[in-house]
Symmetry: none
Subunit: 249 residues, 2 copies
C-alpha cells in the first residue's frame, strides 16, 4: 500500500468519525504505529488534521459552544461586526452563516434596521429574533455538531431557489492564491451554495486568518466583494489585497 493511499484513508476516517487512533490504524493498515505516527505528523504539518496524544482529530474540532465563555479575539470581532453592519441597508435580503463573529454582529444590529435575514445558524436566528424589525428565516437541515450550522443537501436545495442581496460569511482561511478555504467538507458545500445564491459576498475574518490556507477550497478571491477584518485598509498585511478587486473594509 502506498503512503498516499494510507494517508487519504486516514483523512477519510477523520471525515467519517472525526477522530482516529494510532493503534487502530496500525492494525487496520498493517503497518507499525511508528509509520502511522509519521503519517499523522505529516498530515498535521500541512494543516489537514489536528494531532493529539493517541491519534488525531478533525481540524474542524472546536470545543462545543458555551454561551458566556470568553470569546476568542473579542474586540477584533466587535470591530468586524461594526464594519459588517455598515453594509446593511433597509429592505435588504441578507444570508448569513454561523460563528461567533456573526453572532456578535447579530447582537449589534441597530434596532431601526428593517431587513430580512436568512441564516443556516440556529444561534444567529435566535439572536436576530430579538430585533423587532427583522424578518428571520432559518434554512433547515442536519445540524453539524462541529460548527452548529445546518448543512446537507436539504440546505443546498433550499438555497438553490433563492437570490439574495448579500451573503455574510465567516472564513477559516483566506489567501491571495487559494482564495477562501475551509476544513470541513460539508460546510464547504453549503458555503458554495450560499455564495451562488447571493448578489454580493462579504467575508468576515480576523486578520490572524489572512494568508492561511485550509484543506478545502470554497471560492476564489475574485468572488469576494467585501473583505472585512479588524485592521484598517492601510495595514501592511492588507496591501496585497489592495491590488485585487475585493473591497477592503
Amino acid at each position: 500500500m502506498l503512503k498516499e493511499e494510507r494517508q487519504s484513508f486516514i483523512i477519510k476516517q477523520i471525515n467519517l468519525h472525526n477522530k482516529v487512533l494510532s493503534n487502530e490504524l496500525s492494525k487496520k493498515l498493517a503497518v507499525s504505529e511508528d509509520t502511522i505516527r509519521r503519517d499523522l505528523k505529516e498530515l498535521a504539518k500541512t494543516g489537514k488534521i489536528l494531532k493529539v496524544h493517541g491519534g488525531a482529530i478533525g481540524k474542524a474540532f472546536h470545543y462545543p459552544y458555551h454561551h458566556n465563555s470568553e470569546i476568542y479575539a473579542q474586540t477584533a470581532k466587535q470591530i468586524i461586526a461594526d464594519k459588517a453592519i455598515s453594509l446593511l441597508k433597509d429592505d435588504m435580503v441578507i444570508l448569513t452563516g454561523g460563528g461567533t463573529t456573526m453572532i456578535e454582529m447579530a447582537k449589534k444590529i441597530p434596532d431601526n434596521l428593517k431587513a430580512t435575514f436568512f441564516t443556516i445558524s440556529p444561534m444567529v436566528a435566535l439572536t436576530l429574533a430579538n430585533h423587532d424589525n427583522l424578518t428571520v428565516i432559518g434554512i433547515g437541515g442536519e445540524l453539524s455538531k462541529n460548527s452548529n450550522v445546518f448543512i446537507g443537501t436539504s440546505v443546498i436545495n433550499q438555497l438553490f431557489d433563492l437570490k439574495m442581496d448579500l451573503c455574510l460569511l465567516g472564513a477559516n482561511g483566506i489567501s491571495i492564491q487559494e482564495g477562501m478555504t475551509d476544513s470541513d467538507w460539508s460546510v464547504v458545500q453549503v458555503k458554495r451554495a450560499m455564495i451562488h445564491s447571493c448578489q454580493k459576498l462579504a467575508i468576515l475574518s480576523i486578520t490572524e486568518k489572512l494568508n492561511t490556507v485550509q484543506r478545502m477550497k470554497v471560492c476564489d478571491l475574485n468572488l469576494i466583494d467585501y473583505l472585512i477584518t479588524e485592521s484598517s485598509k492601510e495595514e501592511p498585511i492588507l496591501s496585497p489585497y489592495q491590488k485585487t478587486k475585493t473591497e477592503l473594509l
Copy 2:
C-alpha cells in the same frame, strides 16, 4: 477514548446542565476521579469552565439572569421531561416542537440514546446537539418571534414528505371538549402538519393548562396518544381523561 473527546463531553454536559460532578463523570467516562479532576483543571485554566469543589460549573452561573431560575414551574417540567423521555427508544425518529418543557427534556435525554430528532425549534436543536449519539435535523422556515420556532408554509411543506415515529408537542390548552387548543394561528398550522406526519402523538403539558381552552383548535383529544403531565394518573383532575383512549403518563 482520547483526552480531547473526554473534555469535549464535559463541556457538552456543562452546556446542558450548567454543572458537572467529578464522581458522576468518573463513572460515566470510566476513568478515575483524579483524571476527571485533571481534565477540569485544564479546562478551567483555559477559561472554558469554572472549577469548584466537587466538580465544575459553567461560567454563566454567576450572572444574575440564569436560565433555570426563570423557568416557570421548573420542577413540574422536570417531571414531565422524565416521563416524556421514557417514551424514547433507540433508533426512533422523533419530531419535536419548542417551549421550555421541550428544552428541559432535551437536556435530560440520556447520553446513550441513539435516535434522530427533527425539530422546528432552533433552541431545541442546539440543546440536542450536545448529545453525541443523536442526529439532529432542523426544519427551517420563518422564525416566529413569539414562540421562537420555525413556522410558515415552508415548514409545512417539508413536514409533508416525512413520516416519523413520535411527535412531542407542548400544549397551551387541553380540554376534553375542545381537545388541544392554541392561541397563535401560524403555530397551529404547523402543529397540525407535525401531527399528521407522525405515527404517535405525545402532548407535554403542565397540569395547570388542563381544562383550559385557547382560541384556535389544533386537534381533537382522540388524536393524542400520550398525555404527559406532572401529576400522577390517580389525581382527580385527570380522572375525566382516564375514560378517553389517550394514555396518561
